[in-house]
């Protein structure tokens, strides 16, 4: 009989039944054992309590172990019956009839054929049994309900009972911990026990957070914002006489409140917490649960300064917009605009204070640096600060990036002008380069393409020239130069037009286009060289100006040092001012243009001397400071000399002919002005005499006319109102009072209809007002006064003078025809003056031509030429008046021409002064020092001499000059005063 697999299959089936049953038994045993042990432990914990001694703990563990073993043994006892064929008995529950066959099959298979049995029979039996067993699943033989055995149920019940015991009875819970940690002590030897239960933390947040308080049960880690008040409370499992909370090792006594031990503390930083109690025996016991606090710090607000977006140069009185945005994790309490100026002084202004502590905020504001005391040239740092409401750790402050605002000054304007000019030079070179690199091609398409390509760079140049001319004209700097730019632009436009026309249809021959190109190249070459020269001159002047500014600052520092020496205790403001000045100087000291590499080293030496000066002052060594100041003076002198000589030689070399031509034209203008004044004076006097004679014969008719003019002198007096008589010198005040009195007299005379008296009073007032206006004008040149008040007074006097002249004209208008009242000699004088006036007119036209055509065919000043042509037309009126025998009309025109010539002369003079790099008086302007001279600090007494000289000169100017030399003498005196 071949071997069969039926018998092993039966064996395997029985083995599966055996295993399943064994597993179930083990499970029941485990449950029973755990339940028994758990109950035993719970009872033991209850009995032993939280402070269980070690021996008691071990005893409980022994009992629990015994319970475990016993319960397990009982539950596992049936497992022995499953060995061998015993497993077949398990089939009894499913098929009792198969128990015996199964046992037989197992035993036969185990015994084998050698036992005398027929193999075939055994095999047949096994096969039959296997067939039977195939329909019986092991799960139905050993079902899951086996687990609901009483042993398991008892064990589970015991376990539940044990858990309940520990849960319900705090003593049991504490005892359980003690059983788990028998004899536990901390590093200090203090017993550890589960002493506390029902521990709670009540969290009271800082007021600025505006959050409701919150309770946390049995906290292990308490995470709270800094400043949170934590109220930690709990009950003890043992009788306690005291309790403490250790915060970072420092004990805090806990109070008993409503059966709970309570402690309150403020969360300031991360710390460990520990509870401990003192039992009735007086020993301290530490609570087993470790607790800690983690403080969440409030973050600083984030701030961004959106506008200005970058560092800028601004005018002192300019309103600088400020735009910001800020955010905070909790809430923003305040936003400040902070400005730090020279001397590191900070000024702050609250620009936002949201009531509800908004988390995000944006806003805008503005600042005017001059109002904060910033001076031209100062560099001001601006930023925004935002604070949150954190009143625990102090408000957290967020700061934006800083922006540096430089208060516009002469230096910054010069820098800007130089940058603009440098750009202009670049444009010019680019236009020239483009043209040189693309000579005119012979064929039409290439030529047109070339034209288009060249136009871009040339148009840029033309635009830049126009723009720069406009800036120069508008910026009041070197007006005479503006014509250079505008003329160059005009010439280029013409050439471009011609070139465009040559590319019309049909296109011009190559030779013609080449001729235009040659002219354009020549023009661009001239422009490039001119602009490069102007740029160099501007840079030299800038450097020289820096030297002048350095010198001015040095003088001021010297003065303050002297002040500090005199004072017993240094005056804070003086020191602060000194600091400001030194800061400005240190900035200037290294800002010599890079073109002057030789002077760069000197500039560095200046900066070094300044540093040493600062150190000497800081340590209070005024002697050393004085020595350093002397060294600084030498450095500045050397720097200034180098720059000054460069300035002079370059200007002479490149612009000498032009400057000389301008000076010559000015000289001729002065002569013309003197001549016109003389002519106006002669006719004016003649008119006065004729008017008086006319009045004597006019009678009542003129009285009515006079009364109609009576209100006009008041307007002249009002024009004098800006003059503060208290600030005038004695002589000037006398003149002022006299003018005012003459005007009142005029008013009275007109009121009474006395035209003759009014005319005389006006003439007198005119003379006196003329003197006053001139004195004030000179004063304003020398002493601009606080806020330029002298300059304003001078302007007011000039304005009043014009109004008075108009009044005089009106008066002449109502007078009878003066021509009828001319004496014979007077008529002859007018006829004799007419050719003289025509000569002046011719001179005016010639001078206009000179201003229009300077050296190198470049106009000196088209504006002056235009003004002279207009003046020539006014002179024509004067000539006609003289020829007609109309003294009023002639005098009016001649005086107007003289006035305009004076204005023109002053304008040209100012322009030349600017060209020469000098400063002048005027509206609060500062007089630039002569930095080439050795510096001398003046005592107050030393001014007596010059002041006296000035006074004597002013007095001398009141004296009459030889006839015909009045204007010359006057200009001489003015020159001396200047």
């Amino acid at each position: 009989v071949p071997p069969s697999n039926a018998a092993p299959a039966v064996d395997r089936y029985l083995a599966r039944l055996r295993t399943r049953a064994a597993l179930f038994l083990v499970a029941r045993a485990i449950v029973a054992a755990i339940g028994a042990a758990g109950l035993a432990l719970a009872i033991g914990a209850l009995g032993a309590g939280p402070l269980a001694p070690v021996w008691a703990a071990y005893a409980v563990w022994v009992i629990a172990s015994a319970a475990f073993v016993t319960a397990a043994a009982i539950a596992l006892r049936p497992i022995a019956a499953l060995r061998g064929s015993g497993a077949a008995s398990l089939l009894a529950r499913a098929r009792a009839d198969l128990v015996s066959p199964a046992r037989s099959a197992f035993e036969l298979a185990t015994a084998g054929a050698g036992g005398g049995s027929s193999s075939a029979l055994i095999e047949a039996h096994a096969q039959r049994l296997r067939a039977e067993l195939a329909g019986i699943a092991p799960a139905s033989v050993v079902p899951w309900r086996w687990l609901r055995h009483p042993t398991a149920l008892a064990g589970a019940a015991a376990l539940v009972a044990g858990v309940l015991l520990v849960t319900v009875f705090e003593r049991a819970a504490g005892g359980a911990w003690a059983l788990m940690h028998p004899g536990g002590r901390d590093a200090e030897g203090i017993p550890i026990a589960a002493a506390f239960h029902d521990v709670r933390a009540r969290l009271v947040f800082p007021g600025y957070l505006a959050r409701a308080s919150q309770s946390v049960g049995d906290p292990g880690l308490i995470e709270v914002p800094a400043g949170t008040t934590i109220e930690l409370s709990g009950r003890t499992r043992i009788d306690a006489t005291a309790a403490e909370l250790e915060i970072g090792g420092a004990p805090m006594r806990m109070e008993r409140e409503d059966g709970r031990w309570v402690a309150r503390f403020l969360a300031r930083g991360d710390t460990a917490l520990a509870l401990r109690v003192r039992g009735t025996d007086g020993d301290w016991i530490r609570d087993a649960v470790a607790r800690s606090v983690h403080v969440l710090h409030d973050e600083a607000p984030r701030v961004a300064l959106l506008v200005p977006a970058e560092d800028e140069v601004v005018e002192g009185d300019e309103t600088v917009p400020i735009v910001y945005e800020a955010s905070d994790d909790v809430g923003i309490a305040a936003i400040d605009l902070v400005v730090r100026g020279a001397g590191a002084r900070e000024q702050r202004r609250r620009v936002g204070a949201p009531e509800n502590g908004a988390r995000e905020l944006s806003g805008d504001d503005a600042v005017i640096l001059a109002e904060l005391g910033a001076q031209p040239g100062d560099r001001i740092e601006v930023w925004i600060e935002a604070r949150d409401g954190d009143d625990v750790a102090g408000p957290n402050v967020g700061r934006s990036e800083s922006r540096w605002l430089t208060v516009a000054s002469a230096a910054t304007r010069r820098e800007a002008a130089i940058a603009e000019l440098a750009e202009l030079v670049d444009h010019a070179i680019a236009a020239l380069g483009d043209r040189l690199e693309r000579p005119p091609p012979p064929d039409e398409p290439s030529s047109r393409a070339r034209l288009d390509a060249l136009r871009a760079s040339t148009d840029r140049l033309v635009f830049a020239l126009d723009s720069h001319a406009s800036h120069v004209r508008g910026g009041g700097r070197r007006n005479a130069d503006s014509v250079l730019y505008s003329e160059a632009s005009a010439r280029l436009r013409r050439l471009l037009f011609e070139e465009a026309a040559a590319h019309g249809s049909p296109i011009a021959p190559l030779a013609a286009r080449q001729r235009i190109d040659e002219r354009a190249v020549a023009e661009l070459e001239d422009d490039v060289l001119l602009l490069a020269d102007l740029l160099t001159r501007a840079r030299i002047e800038d450097a020289a100006e820096i030297a002048r500014e350095l010198e001015a600052l040095r003088r001021e520092i010297a003065s303050l040092l002297a002040e500090l020496r005199r004072a017993d205790t240094p005056e804070a403001r003086a020191q602060q001012r000194l600091e400001d000045l030194m800061q400005r100087m240190s900035r200037l000291g290294t800002s010599v243009p890079e073109d002057f590499a030789n002077t760069q080293e000197q500039a560095q030496q200046t900066a070094d001397a300044l540093t040493e000066l600062r150190e000497a002052i800081e340590r209070g060594d005024l002697d050393a400071a004085q020595q350093q100041l002397t060294r600084l003076e030498q450095q500045i002198d050397a720097l200034a000399r180098a720059l000054g000589s460069g300035e002079q030689s370059f200007a002479e070399e490149r612009f000498g002919p032009r400057e000389r031509a301008l000076a010559e034209a000015l000289d001729r203008l002065m002569g013309l002005e003197a001549e016109q004044r003389e002519l106006a004076r002669r006719t004016g006097e003649l008119r006065g005499r004729a008017a008086r004679r006319a009045l004597e014969t006019s009678g009542a008719e003129s009285a009515d006319a006079a009364r109609r003019l009576a209100r006009l002198p008041r307007a002249v007096r009002e024009a004098l109102a800006p003059i503060d008589a208290e600030r005038l010198s004695t002589l000037e005040r006398d003149a002022y009072d006299a003018v005012v009195q003459r005007l009142r007299d005029t008013e009275d005379a007109l009121g009474t209809g006395d035209l003759g008296e009014a005319s005389r009073m006006i003439e007198t007032a005119e003379d006196q007002l003329h003197e006053l206006a001139r004195d004030l004008d000179l004063d304003s040149m020398m002493f601009p006064g606080h806020d330029g008040h002298t300059a304003r007074a001078a302007r007011a006097a000039e304005d009043a003078r014009h109004r008075l002249a108009e009044l005089h004209g009106d008066l002449d208008g109502v007078l009878p025809d003066l021509a009828d009242h001319l004496a014979g000699g007077e008529r002859g004088q007018m006829e004799g003056d007419a050719p003289r006036q025509r000569g002046a007119r011719g001179a005016s036209s010639e001078l206009a031509e000179s201003f229009d055509h300077g050296p190198d065919a470049m106009p000196l000043s088209p504006d002056a030429a235009t003004a002279l042509r207009e003046i020539a037309r006014v002179m024509d009126d004067g000539t006609r008046g003289l020829e007609r025998g109309d003294p009023a009309g002639a005098a009016r025109a001649q005086e107007e021409a003289a006035r305009r010539l004076t204005e023109l002369r002053e304008s040209v003079e100012q322009d030349m002064q600017r060209s020469a790099g000098g400063g002048g008086g005027g509206d609060g302007g500062t007089s630039a020092p002569d930095f080439r001279r050795p510096v001398h600090i003046h005592d107050a007494d030393e001014f007596a001499g010059p002041m006296e000289l000035r006074r004597r000169l002013l007095d001398a100017m009141q004296e009459s000059a030889p006839s015909g030399y009045e204007e010359s003498v006057q200009r001489y005196y003015e020159g001396l005063l200047r």
Binding site: I429, A430, L436, E525, V528, L529, A597, Q600
Partner: protein
């Protein structure tokens, strides 16, 4: 008052005052010479120093110093020996200790002046570093920094010049041969008896004295100068001084030096007179304005003008050239030996030529008058332009034709904006009115080369380098142009000429780095190209 006069007066006053002080102290504290024969030996040693028999003097002084370590005269003479050996610290120490007390050998004024020189040399050399040849015979000292570039080449030039002297004059002076490179004219003036004004006026920017060669760094000049030929020139002086026991008069010294200064380059000696000097010489000969040879003492540098100095150089150089043409190097050696033996230089020349001096001089004058006329316009006399400060100098003003300056300026403006082709157009306009001007030519060539017109660049440069061989930018651009055309050897030669004028221009180094076939040279020039490019 002219600054140089003021400086001389000041120096004279100081010297006089010091002399009075020394004189007042000397009688009380003066020592007698070492007694007897030792005193005579000291005098002999002093004379040996004067005759540049330095080895002989050193041996005697060393022996006397051992016997009389504190004798002031011995110490002062030892100071001079140490000074001539380059031991400036030791020399200053000896001179300082004995300048007041010594008195038997040298007058007080001389001692004081020497003491000043020694101290100044010590102070200035204190911060110097040195480069030596492998055999130690050639030592170049220089200020730390860029001058190391000069020093590298100077070692090579000194060796070549030394070999040439042995070849031409049969003399090999004892080593080491020391070369000192001074960074400015002012420092050279401080260590010599010249003033800065004299240096700048006459262009005397190198000296051979106190057994060493002193040259001014080419970076002290705007466009450098022929420093290598100058070094060769000074080495001739050194050799001739030693060979003739310093008895050769200045005119002979300068004649030999000018004639032999380029022999270090190899080949037979050839005099190359620049056209301006040639013209000066012919005009002076025709107008009978030649300077008497005796007037050249004590130094050509002390002649009143650069024109006089140039004429003097031309005179003596052509005289020696003529002599050499007739009698060869052997004749030159013969003259040197006769002068060393104490024969007057004129007699020595006459004896060597077996003719009278008058005949020799007459022949020379005739030869000068017979010099061929120079073709084309005569360029202006080359003047060295010293650098003052660090500023970029505007060369436009040096363009002789005023009308061309405008276009040079325009070209410069365009060039500075990288508009090479446009710049070339403007330089071309300048060239049309100032053809032959080296400043215009070099710029035109540079712009043409940058604009891709290599042939134009070379066409302009080649004749100019003949007319203006000392104008470094010409050689520099020519080297670049040759390289651009693939003419490597010619490029290397031109660039090397540029380096021998101004080694601080990085371009020639960069070009040689590409053109050279020698790996060692290529490596060195690459490094210098990089280093100088970063300066």
């Amino acid at each position: 008052m002219r600054p140089v006069l003021a400086a001389r007066i000041t120096r004279a006053v100081v010297l006089a005052a010091a002399t009075i002080v020394v004189g007042a102290l000397a009688p009380e504290r003066a020592h007698a010479l070492p007694p007897g024969a030792d005193g005579q030996r000291l005098r002999g040693a002093s004379e040996a120093i004067e005759d540049l028999r330095l080895e002989e003097a050193a041996a005697a002084i060393d022996a006397l110093s051992a016997a009389y370590p504190d004798d002031p005269d011995v110490r002062f003479e030892r100071a001079l020996v140490r000074f001539d050996r380059g031991d400036y610290q030791g020399a200053a120490s000896d001179a300082g200790a004995s300048v007041v007390l010594a008195g038997a050998i040298r007058p007080a004024a001389e001692r004081i002046e020497l003491h000043r020189l020694i101290r100044a040399t010590r102070d200035i050399n204190a911060g110097f570093v040195e480069q030596r040849s492998a055999d130690g015979r050639y030592v170049v000292r220089h200020a730390p920094g860029p001058d190391r570039v000069v020093a590298q080449y100077a070692v090579e030039v000194a060796r070549a010049a030394d070999d040439a002297m042995e070849r031409e004059l049969g003399i090999r002076v004892p080593g080491p041969i020391r070369v000192e490179v001074y960074p400015t004219a002012a420092t050279l003036a401080a260590v010599s008896s010249l003033t800065v004004e004299e240096i700048e006026r006459t262009g005397t920017i190198a000296l051979s004295k106190w057994n060493r060669l002193m040259i001014t760094s080419p970076r002290a000049l705007v466009r450098g100068y022929p420093w290598a030929d100058t070094l060769g020139h000074e080495l001739v002086h050194l050799v001739l001084s030693r060979a003739s026991h310093d008895r050769a008069p200045v005119w002979m010294q300068e004649g030999y030096a000018r004639f032999l200064e380029r022999t270090w380059r190899g080949g037979a000696p050839v005099l190359t007179l620049d056209p301006a000097s040639d013209r000066l010489l012919r005009d002076a000969a025709r107008e009978d304005r030649l300077i008497a040879f005796d007037r050249l003492h004590p130094s050509i540098a002390m002649l009143p003008s650069a024109e006089d100095a140039a004429l003097a150089f031309a005179q003596v150089a052509t005289f020696v050239e003529l002599f050499h043409a007739a009698h060869g190097s052997a004749g030159l050696r013969d003259v040197a030996q006769r002068v060393a033996a104490g024969v007057d230089a004129r007699e020595a020349f006459a004896a060597a030529a077996r003719r009278s001096w008058i005949e020799l001089e007459h022949d020379w004058r005739e030869a000068v008058r017979a010099r061929p006329e120079h073709d084309g316009p005569i360029p202006a006399l080359r003047r060295l332009r010293f650098r003052h400060g660090e500023a970029q100098l505007d060369e436009t003003e040096e363009v002789r034709i005023a009308g061309a300056r405008r276009f040079v300026r325009l070209g410069d403006l365009l060039w500075s904006r990288d508009r090479a082709r446009a710049a070339a157009v403007e330089y071309g306009k300048a060239w049309s009115s100032a053809e032959g001007d080296p400043i215009v030519g070099s710029r035109l060539a540079r712009a043409a080369l940058a604009g891709g017109d290599v042939d134009r660049a070379i066409e302009v440069l080649v004749p100019l380098t003949g007319e203006w061989p000392d104008h470094e930018p010409l050689w520099s651009v020519l080297g670049s142009a040759r390289l651009a055309r693939g003419e490597r050897e010619a490029a290397r030669a031109a660039s090397r000429e540029a380096i021998l004028l101004n080694p601080f221009d990085p371009q020639p180094h960069c070009d040689i780095a590409q053109a050279s076939s020698d790996a060692t040279e290529r490596s060195r020039e690459e490094r210098l190209c990089e280093e100088l490019g970063e300066l």
